[in-house]
Symmetry: C2
Subunit: 154 residues, 2 copies
């Protein structure tokens, strides 16, 4: 007898095809919830979640090229190029070709982009509040996910 939501009867021949048994669906639907929370919390900053992630990367280390940002975020340049252009249009970053290697586009924070970090400082606490998750659970869950991600990418 468990107190959590019922899964599905493992004896059921369709057991593995049930939504409720699928880890991936739990992951997918939880991510939808996370995104929804971020939309609310990021409205003030007028950033989407992926845009916020790019800003996190740049706040930690400025002046990366597109590929380096892609690598950190597990995204393709196909996704990031237009996103970075939008951030540039917003005046948060600059994009300029590296003179020594004209293939690379270096992304740097503008003063406004750098300044936004101060206002973003409360975001993690807002999200943690919404998750109502103990620090231990958080660390545990994060590490399980990272192991899973490592396997999936392999």
């Amino acid at each position: 007898m468990t107190t959590t939501a019922p899964s599905s009867d493992p004896a059921d021949p369709d057991h593995k095809l049930r939504l409720r048994t699928q880890l991936c669906f739990a992951l997918y639907s939880t991510m939808l919830g996370v995104n929804k929370v971020y939309r609310t919390v990021l409205r003030d900053l007028d950033l989407t979640y992926p845009q916020y992630l790019v800003m996190l990367v740049l706040w930690e280390r400025d002046g990366l090229n597109v590929s380096e940002i892609c690598e950190q975020l597990y995204l393709e340049t196909t996704t990031l190029t237009p996103l970075l252009k939008r951030l540039e249009a917003r005046g948060l970053v600059n994009r300029q070709r590296l003179p020594e290697d004209e293939r690379q586009v270096i992304v740097t924070l503008t003063a406004e982009g750098a300044a936004l970090k101060t206002r973003a400082a409360i975001i993690p606490d807002c999200v943690a509040e919404a998750m109502k998750c103990s620090e231990d659970d958080l660390v545990d869950l994060r590490e399980q996910l990272i192991r899973l991600r490592t396997n999936l990418i392999r």
Copy 2:
């Protein structure tokens, strides 16, 4: 001393803004990996992951209306209406207004849609293979995610 990837120094004033410390980023990036695996595995069936989810719902219980499918998948009708039209165009489902309540659109499987279930039966094992995750870890992780999702939706 941990063997997993390093997080970030909690004494760092920017600790919470680090990508590596954020549970949500682990969730987000793992989901990207899951999606990539599904793209590979679902190529044969010519389905996207959300389309596959709709089929899972209908294989379990046919003849739901749009809202009921939305509710099970945590998606908006805005997302599902066009998706269902694509499934209809593919000949996998039918969409018809309920005579007793013309507001509702009932989605039913075509013979082809129902038959696809047989070919989809191997998908969960393919994905489990890619995740390389023990059954216990899987159940544990799934339940943690569902708890988190419940909090996020509240």
